[in-house]
């Protein structure tokens, strides 16, 4: 029997007022509702009286759990999904002391008339650390998406916001939540944002947000998924272990272009410092895209397999040897690498462990390749290349401006400050984890799986991502040994492969299959 999802707005208001009363003043006392705007008469906007800050020392003296609730529908190829959007804050609190930690900003999309015992709920977040979750929210599987049109760069901006035919709302309810200091999420006194700018404190706060969301919305019985991108991979691994320990059984962890181990991705080190074997298949497929390989290659999957084998048998041992000895590589080896990737001989001779930054700037003379999506290019010296990554510069202003107008006009949520697409957390992040200076989160994933052998893991990567290369994740995950149900998918495109129209369709189909396999 379907159980209708109860709107939580009035409940949230009660909490708002209670917290304002306990907080001892400070701007939280005014009535949080505003007159209903045109649109669905059942919509209830929310004008948050608070201002939020991304600074490390920022701290809310009073917080609220107010939210705007609006009604929408999405037509997915003839199937109409009626849903609510809830935009506002929930307070994550310490599980034992109940001390409030932070007010997390989130936007939740909930399909109407579903059985909460079988309807999945998925929590989405980007990485950075310090990034808001706007990239996933407006680019991937939400009910609306920005029509980016990668890898072309001739489209006018801002990109149109369109109904998303690849929305996952036909499969799961979707919660986009921003890290503390990003979006409109902020720490609550005596904590500051900086308190949660570390691998462990961040993941613990996300655990407490998930716990709060599930309790407030009566979703503890629902199948549960987390989907994190990039640094969100580290966050997801740590979070999965913490949630299992806390008794929140997860169904699936979706790692989208993740970094899982900061010691194994050579991009975070300077050129020549670390072994870049994990990048070789990315160089090869990107060279194939630009028709620079010899022979030419058109089947990415087959070519990736060929280059993985070459990397394991020949390239990786040669790089290890070179890092130790610094002896020039043989002409034969260099010739092979030139043929496989299209990168010139002098680059391999200068640094056999070819760094992605070098590849990005040197593969094609006078052209800068995108770091996030190497297929997106710009002439050296052009405005698009000025920040070092045309694929990121091209999309930033559209995402930043659209999230702000979308929250106000469509979701009917406003605060005293505008949505921050990032904080500066990355500069003062506490990277320590598990007794090491930097996070290696494979033990966390292993611990999550030991606690919940039914937990399923899915990985999505782009073949043309020079930030988190797909093969490095494969090498990292191989450390886990056999993981039943593990699915690894690679797609044409970059770090945000969902911005590629053809790949987004494929990712959606693969995600739907993964959800079906994880609902046991």
């Amino acid at each position: 029997m379907p159980v209708s999802l109860k709107p939580t707005h009035s409940y949230l208001l009660a909490i708002t007022l209670a917290l304002a009363a306990c907080g001892g003043g400070g701007g939280g006392g005014s009535t949080p509702t505003q007159p209903t705007q045109p649109g669905n008469p059942a919509d209830r906007g929310f004008s948050d009286p608070l201002a939020y800050s991304s600074s490390g020392n920022a701290s809310l003296s009073v917080a609220n759990e107010g939210a705007a609730l609006t009604h929408h529908s999405l037509n997915l190829g003839g199937r109409v999904i009626d849903y609510t959007a809830t935009a506002g804050h929930l307070i994550a609190s310490h599980p034992q002391t109940s001390q409030p930690k932070a007010a997390f900003f989130y936007v939740a999309y909930t399909a109407k008339n579903q059985d909460v015992r079988t309807r999945p709920v998925t929590f989405f977040y980007n990485g950075g650390p310090g990034s808001a979750s706007v990239w996933l929210h407006l680019g991937s599987y939400g009910p609306k998406r920005l029509q980016v049109g990668y890898p072309a760069t001739s489209q006018p901006q801002p990109f149109p916001l369109v109904d998303n035919q690849e929305s996952l709302l036909d499969t799961s309810d979707l919660v986009f939540v921003d890290a503390i200091g990003a979006g409109l999420s902020q720490a609550i006194a005596p904590h500051t944002n900086q308190t949660f700018w570390g691998v462990d404190a961040d993941a613990e706060a996300f655990r407490d947000f998930v716990t709060r969301y599930l309790a407030v919305n009566q979703r503890t019985a629902s199948p549960k998924f987390i989907l994190g991108e990039s640094y969100g991979g580290v966050r997801s691994s740590v979070l999965a272990d913490l949630l299992e320990a806390a008794g929140t059984r997860m169904n699936g962890v979706i790692l989208l272009s993740p970094i899982l181990n900061y010691y194994s991705n050579c991009a975070v080190y300077s050129p020549g410092e670390a072994n870049c074997t994990g990048f070789l298949p990315t160089y090869a497929n990107t060279g194939a895209h630009f028709r620079l390989t010899n022979p030419a290659q058109t089947d990415y999957a087959a070519y990736a397999q060929q280059v993985r084998s070459y990397a394991a048998s020949t390239y990786s041992p040669a790089v290890a040897n070179w890092l130790g000895s610094r002896l020039p590589p043989s002409n034969n080896l260099v010739d092979q690498l030139v043929g496989l990737t299209g990168a010139r001989a002098n680059l391999w001779q200068a640094n056999l462990s070819l760094h992605p930054n070098t590849y990005q700037f040197q593969l094609i003379t006078g052209t800068v390749l995108g770091r996030y999506d190497a297929r997106v290019t710009a002439p050296q010296g052009s405005a698009l290349a000025s920040e070092g990554d045309p694929s990121s510069t091209f999309i930033t202003s559209s995402f930043a401006s659209t999230i702000r107008s979308y929250l106000t006009s469509q979701l009917k949520y406003t605060a005293q400050t505008s949505y921050a697409i990032s904080s500066n957390a990355i500069q003062s992040w506490n990277w320590q984890h598990d007794g090491q200076d930097l996070p290696d989160t494979l033990p966390d994933l292993a611990a999550a799986l030991q606690q919940n052998p039914n937990l399923k893991i899915m990985v999505l990567h782009g073949y043309n991502d020079l930030a988190t290369p797909f093969h490095q994740t494969e090498l990292d995950l191989a450390r886990l040994g056999n993981v039943p149900g593990l699915r690894i998918h690679n797609y044409e495109g970059g770090h945000m492969m969902y911005l590629d129209d053809a790949s987004r369709v494929r990712t959606k189909a693969d995600l739907a299959a993964f959800y079906a396999s994880s609902l046991n």
Binding site: T248, I259, N265, Y269, P271, Q362, I426, W431, G435, D444
Partner: protein, 127 residues
């Protein structure tokens, strides 16, 4: 397998060599202020944070043992007197939600206490 093999001086020399390599231009330079970039140029480490691994990355059975040790350590933190088992109250105080929720099923004899091994068996046979 160690990831970084270089003494700092050698690394510095190499960086110079790479910079000086023909056709290499200004590659490898990244803006230090990344606040304008989507996701802040993720993944990225500020230079001061770039440190070598303190231990080799474990794999296979050794990794599984490391993960299990992590779980044992979490359990042991709820058992300060090292009795080898914990009560429901101790599980609650330590935030071991799984143990709290399933305490009665795990403690089949009704002893009022559960061991790490009992919890582990329950988790791995559960559902």
């Amino acid at each position: 397998m160690p990831h970084r093999h270089l003494a700092p001086m050698l690394a510095a020399l190499l960086a110079l060599a790479v910079q000086a390599a023909p056709g290499n231009g200004d590659s490898g330079t990244q803006p230090e202020d990344r606040s304008h970039l989507p996701q802040l140029g993720d993944p990225y480490l500020p230079p001061a944070a770039r440190k070598p691994a303190q231990r080799p990355p474990l794999a296979g059975a050794a990794l599984q043992a490391q993960a299990r040790a992590k779980l044992q350590q979490r359990f042991a933190a709820a058992d300060p007197l090292k009795t080898g088992s914990i009560s429901l109250a101790q599980a609650k105080a330590a935030g071991l939600g799984y143990v709290v929720q399933h305490f009665a099923e795990i403690d089949r004899q009704g002893s009022g206490r559960v061991s790490f091994e009992q919890v582990e068996r329950h988790q791995q046979g559960a559902r």
